[in-house]
């Protein structure tokens, strides 16, 4: 899965903000704000990755247990899927 085209992320005042651009503005209204970890996962998902591969990246980057990483990745991915931001 990967982030659909037409989203743009930038740090604003210490948090990360994602906005839709181009044709995506017709589909997705509003903005998303995320923390550092969210931004890390977002950047990783700009390339096609499975949930398992994403969990591995998270474990490489952060000091955490495999279970924590799995949970965090699953929550993140589910939210993006629900918002229609990921293509599978």
């Amino acid at each position: 899965m990967r982030i659909k085209n037409g989203f743009f992320m930038r740090e604003v005042a210490g948090k990360y903000v994602v906005v839709p651009v181009g044709a995506q503005t017709n589909e997705f209204k509003g903005m998303i704000q995320m923390n550092q970890t969210g931004a890390f996962l977002w950047k990783a998902l700009e390339r096609d990755l499975t949930e398992e591969a994403l969990t591995e990246r998270m474990l490489d980057q952060y000091e955490m247990t495999e279970e924590q990483a799995k949970n965090d990745v699953h929550t993140f991915v589910t939210r993006l899927l629900e918002a229609g931001i990921l293509e599978v």
Partner: protein, 236 residues
């Protein structure tokens, strides 16, 4: 015709009286190079009006020229914020909120409290904000919504206040992180990526340097006094 709006030389021939009048006090006769060319035509106004029949032709010109100016201003380093801007002693206080909350009603209370000589409404709907060599400034623009409350003036940006209606008067400084989405709702995020990038870049800098507040207030001079005293405190 050339105009100077938010320190940008703008070229445009207004089509209808409504916008022509609003732009009149921004006329520019110098030789500086044009930075923004606005491209609205009568045909386009007619087309827009056909799509949005609740608007008049004059309103279509006003709205779509405003949007074009807004996008092009981003590339010149400025942005417009949906707010009422009141100037007192050379400092400008921005009050931002969704339509209907009472931005204009609040800044009117400033005029009651300070008098209309000392409290000037620079713009009641979409003032321009940009960073200059000596800090953030606010400019009046012709885009003042339904009212004619707009002045071709510039003042130092003292602070931005996110306004809410309340039964009592309370104001607090906001953490930039919680203010980001609130304020972004009061700016238009352009569709074009390079412009969206410029906006987010500018907002990032703005939040680092300009205090943002959240206020709940009644319609009263007391609310104006409280806002002024809390916001004036910083930076003077």
């Amino acid at each position: 015709m050339r105009y100077q709006i938010a320190d940008c030389i703008v070229e445009y021939e207004p089509i209808y009286e409504f916008l022509r009048k609003k732009m009149e006090s921004y006329r520019f006769d110098g030789d500086a190079k044009t930075q923004i060319t606005l491209t609205m035509t009568e045909e386009l106004c007619i087309q827009k009006q056909a799509e949005q029949s609740h608007l008049t032709l004059e309103e279509c010109e006003y709205i779509f020229v405003g949007l074009e100016f807004y996008r092009k201003l981003l590339l010149q380093g400025g942005m417009m914020i949906h707010a009422s801007a009141v100037e007192v002693d050379g400092r400008v206080y921005l009050f931002s909120a969704d339509s209907g909350i009472g931005k204009s009603t609040h800044t009117k209370q400033w005029q009651k409290y300070f008098g209309t000589e000392r409290a000037l409404i620079i713009n009641d709907d979409k003032p321009a904000v940009r960073k200059e060599a000596d800090g953030w400034v606010v400019y009046g623009t012709p885009f003042s919504g339904k009212t004619d409350e707009q002045l071709n003036r510039k003042g130092k940006l003292q602070g931005i206040c996110m306004l809410e209606r309340g039964k009592t008067n309370e104001i607090r400084r906001m953490d930039p992180q919680e203010a980001v989405l609130l304020l972004m709702r009061q700016t238009l995020v352009p569709r074009r990526k390079e412009m969206a990038e410029r906006l987010l870049e500018m907002l990032d800098e703005l939040f680092k340097e300009v205090p943002v507040y959240q206020m709940q207030c009644t319609i009263s001079e007391d609310a104006a006094k409280m806002a002024y005293e809390s916001m004036r405190g910083e930076g003077i």
